[in-house]
C-alpha cells in the first residue's frame, strides 16, 4: 500500500487535534476538498488503529462524531438530503411529521444519549415510533457515528511503516493524560460508585445521568474539585473547562443524592446493598458489621 506522506502528516494532525482539543476541523461539504477529506479520514483511522488504545479510539470517535453533527446542523437547511443519506448509512429512516420526525423505537433507544431529555417516559411514543425534532435527529446521527467508530476501531491489519510510526507518535501523547487516573480511598465507596470510577478509568463513555450521580456523590464525600476532575479525566469526551464548571455547579446547587432505585433506573446500580441511597452505604455496611460483631460477642 502506498500512501502520500503529506497525507499521513495531515491525518496525524487531525488525530492529534481530536485527542487534544476534542474537535476535528470542518471542511466545507461538497467542495473539491471532499476526496482529500475522505482520504485523510481513512488514514486517520489507520493511525488510531495502530495506536490501538481504547481511550484514544473513544476520544477520536467523539471528535469525528461532533464534526459530523456540525456538518449536518449547518448544511441540512441547504441540503436536506444529507441527513437522510447519513441516516440511511445506519439503517435509520426518519419519517417527516410536521416540523418533526418519527423514528423507530429500537433506533431511538440505540442512538440517543441516556439523559433526562431523552428519557422515553417523557417522549411521544406511538405505534413503535418516537417523535424527535431536527436538532435531536442530528444528535442521534452524531451518536451513531461515535458508536460506529468505537465499534470498528482498531482495524486489525498490517499498515505501512509510515502509518505505524505516526500511530506510535500519537500514542506517545497519552501517558501524560492517563497517568492521572487516580486511586482515591475507594474501598469504602458503594459498588455503583466504584464501578463508575473504574469505568471512567477504562475510558468508557458513561451516560450523562451516571456522571451527574457520580459527581454528586464525590462532592458529598468531601472530595475537592481537583480530585473529582482527575476521576472524570478518563471520560473520552473529557473537557477540562466543562467538567470543572459542572462539578462546581453541582457543588453550589447542593443537589440531593439520587436514591438507589433512581440509580437502578439509570442502569448503574450493580448490587443490592439495601441502603436506600448510595450515601448510606458506608454507614450501613459498617453499621451492620459492627452489629454482627456485637451479636457474635454475646454468644
Amino acid at each position: 500500500m502506498e500512501i502520500v506522506s503529506s497525507y499521513v502528516e495531515r491525518a496525524e494532525d487531525r488525530v492529534r487535534e481530536a485527542i487534544i482539543s476534542g474537535k476535528v476541523k470542518k471542511v466545507p461539504a461538497l467542495s473539491d476538498a471532499q476526496e482529500e477529506e475522505l482520504a485523510l479520514y481513512a488514514i486517520a483511522r489507520m493511525i488510531v488503529s495502530c495506536a490501538a488504545n481504547r481511550y484514544l479510539i473513544n476520544r477520536y470517535a467523539v471528535a469525528e462524531a461532533k464534526k459530523t453533527s456540525d456538518y449536518l446542523s449547518s448544511d441540512s437547511s441547504a441540503h436536506p438530503d444529507y441527513v437522510d443519506a447519513v441516516a440511511a448509512e445506519f439503517g435509520i429512516r426518519f419519517e417527516k411529521a410536521g416540523a418533526q420526525f418519527l423514528v423507530p423505537l429500537g433506533k431511538y433507544l440505540t442512538y440517543t444519549p441516556r439523559s433526562t431529555d431523552y428519557k422515553l417516559a417523557n417522549r411521544e411514543v406511538a405505534g413503535g415510533k418516537v417523535k424527535v425534532n431536527s436538532h435531536e435527529r442530528v444528535r442521534m446521527l452524531e451518536e451513531a457515528v461515535k458508536k460506529k467508530i468505537e465499534r470498528e476501531l482498531p482495524i486489525r491489519a498490517s499498515f505501512p511503516a509510515e502509518v505505524k510510526a505516526s500511530g506510535a507518535r500519537v500514542l506517545a501523547l497519552l501517558p501524560k493524560l492517563e497517568a492521572n487516573v487516580v486511586k482515591v480511598g475507594q474501598e469504602n465507596y458503594p459498588p455503583c460508585v466504584r464501578r463508575m470510577i473504574e469505568e471512567l478509568a477504562l475510558n468508557v463513555n458513561l451516560p450523562h445521568t451516571a456522571r451527574v450521580a457520580l459527581g454528586i456523590y464525590l462532592v458529598k464525600a468531601g472530595l475537592p474539585t481537583d480530585k473529582i476532575m482527575e476521576i472524570f479525566r478518563g471520560a473520552p469526551d473529557f473537557s477540562e473547562k466543562t467538567t470543572r464548571y459542572q462539578v462546581e455547579y453541582l457543588r453550589t446547587k447542593n443537589y440531593s443524592m439520587p436514591s438507589c432505585s433512581t440509580m437502578d433506573s439509570y442502569g448503574v446500580c450493580v448490587a443490592e446493598c439495601r441502603c436506600g441511597t448510595p450515601l448510606n452505604y458506608r454507614a450501613n455496611v459498617h453499621g451492620r458489621a459492627l452489629k454482627k460483631e456485637e451479636e457474635e460477642g454475646k454468644k
Binding site: L105, G106, K119, L120, A121, N122, V125
Partner: protein, 371 residues
C-alpha cells in the same frame, strides 16, 4: 448444598415429571441458539450453560434427568454453551416482561386475588403499552403463565432484537413511568400554558384522553372546578383539550390539580413489572410449557395474547390429573381449589387422599410429604 440422597418426594416428583416429558412435545423458538438451565429440589438453577441441537435432544435429556425447573435464555447466542458469558457471542434477545404477584402478602400458597390482579396487569401491559405505544403486533407477542402466580410476556421482534440493556431498561422505565416528569407534559412558556392533545403519543396523550373521558363523570368534573357541573362548560373544556389547548381553561390551581389527577389515574405500571428482568439480556426464564417445580403447574403457553382474559391458571395450568394420592401435611394448608377440586384447610400432621394435581402441588410447595 443439597443432600446427596434425594428425598422420596423428590424422587417421586422427578418420576412424574419424566413421564410428563416423555409424553408431551417441547417447542422452543431458536432452541439451538439458547442457553438452558436446570434446577432441582434446592435451587431453581443448579446447572446452566447447557445447549441442545434440536428438540429431540432436549426432550431426551428432560426425560432422562427430569429437572424440577427448566429455564432457557431470553438471548440467542452463536455458542450458547461457552463460558464465560462474552464467549457465547450474543446475537440478540427477546424482550421480556415479568409480571408477578410477589410483594402481595398472601404467603406461599397461590390466592385467586393475586392471580386476578396479575392477569389484569398483563392485559393492561399488552393493550395499553405493547400494542399501541410500542407498535408490536399480536403475532410478535407470546404470553405464558409463569407456572407460579404470574405471567411472562415474550416479545419476539426484529424491532428490539439487538437493542442493549440500557435500551431495554428505558422500555421498562417507560412502562413503569420511572423518570416520568409532569413538567414535561405540562409547561409554561411566557404567559402561555401548554399541555398534551389526546392524539399525542406517550403519557401526555394517555392523560389527555383519560381526562376527556373522565369529564363525563360528575364527581371527577366537579373536583376540578365547580362550574363543570354545567354540561355546556364541560363540552367547552373537552373541545379545548381536544385541540390541545390547556391555556385559559378557567381552572384555579390548574397545575396542582392536573398533577393530582395524573397520579390518581394510575396510567403507569409502577411496581407491576420487574424492570431487572426486562433489562437483562442474558436472563434465564422459565421454558414455556415446562413444569414449575414449585407448583407442579405448567408454565402454560397461551394460544394467543387474547386468550389470557379467559385463562384460569388454577384450572388449566396443573399438569397432573385426578388419580388419588395420599399425602401428609407438614404445615397448615389453607382452603384451595385446584382443577375444580376444593380442599383444606387442614393442619400439620393430617393425612389426606387428594387428586394428584392437588397432592403434587402440596409436595412441590414442600407443605406435605408422601403418606
Amino acid at each position: 448444598m443439597s443432600s446427596l440422597v434425594a428425598s422420596n418426594e423428590e424422587k417421586f416428583l422427578r418420576k412424574k415429571f419424566s413421564d410428563y416429558y416423555s409424553s408431551s412435545a417441547v417447542a422452543v423458538r431458536g432452541l439451538e441458539k439458547r442457553e438452558f438451565g436446570f434446577g432441582g429440589w434446592e435451587k431453581k438453577i443448579e446447572f446452566r450453560h447447557l445447549s441442545f441441537r434440536n428438540e429431540t435432544e432436549l426432550r431426551a435429556r428432560l426425560v432422562a434427568e427430569a429437572p424440577l425447573y427448566i429455564s432457557h435464555s431470553v438471548a440467542y447466542y452463536e455458542f450458547p454453551d461457552e463460558r464465560p458469558m462474552p464467549r457465547k457471542n450474543w446475537e440478540g434477545s427477546d424482550l421480556i416482561f415479568d409480571l408477578d404477584a410477589e410483594g402481595h402478602s398472601c404467603g406461599k400458597f397461590t390466592c385467586q386475588e393475586c392471580l386476578d390482579r396479575v392477569k389484569a396487569d398483563a392485559i393492561k401491559l399488552i393493550e395499553e403499552f405493547l400494542l399501541p405505544d410500542f407498535g408490536f403486533s399480536k403475532s410478535e407477542l407470546a404470553v405464558n403463565f409463569s407456572g407460579s402466580r404470574g405471567y411472562h410476556v415474550h416479545v419476539v421482534s426484529d424491532a428490539i432484537y439487538d437493542i442493549d440493556r440500557e435500551a431495554r431498561r428505558e422500555i421498562a422505565d417507560y412502562v413503569s413511568g420511572t423518570g416520568l416528569s409532569f413538567e414535561r407534559l405540562f409547561w409554561n412558556e411566557g404567559k402561555k400554558f401548554y399541555g398534551p392533545a389526546p392524539t399525542q403519543g406517550g403519557f401526555g396523550g394517555k392523560f389527555a384522553r383519560a381526562f376527556v373521558a373522565k369529564l363525563s363523570d360528575d364527581s371527577f368534573a366537579t373536583s376540578i372546578a365547580r362550574k363543570l357541573k354545567k354540561p355546556e362548560e364541560r363540552e367547552k373544556l373537552k373541545g379545548a383539550i381536544e385541540r390541545g389547548n390547556w391555556d385559559n381553561i378557567g381552572i384555579a390551581n390548574r397545575e396542582r390539580k392536573l398533577s393530582e389527577k395524573f397520579e390518581e389515574m394510575k396510567l403507569t405500571m409502577a411496581g407491576r413489572i420487574d424492570a431487572n428482568v426486562t433489562a437483562d439480556t442474558s436472563k434465564l426464564i422459565r421454558m414455556p410449557d415446562s413444569i414449575h417445580g414449585g407448583s407442579g403447574f405448567a408454565a402454560k403457553r397461551l394460544s394467543s395474547p387474547d386468550a389470557i382474559s379467559t385463562f384460569e391458571p388454577m384450572r388449566s395450568a396443573p399438569v397432573f390429573g385426578s388419580a388419588p394420592l395420599r399425602v401428609k401435611a407438614t404445615e397448615t394448608v389453607p382452603a384451595l381449589n385446584i382443577r375444580d377440586f376444593s380442599f383444606g384447610p387442614f393442619g400439620a400432621g393430617e393425612v389426606r387422599e387428594l387428586p394428584e394435581a392437588c397432592a403434587i402441588y402440596l409436595l412441590c410447595k414442600k407443605a406435605a410429604i408422601l403418606a
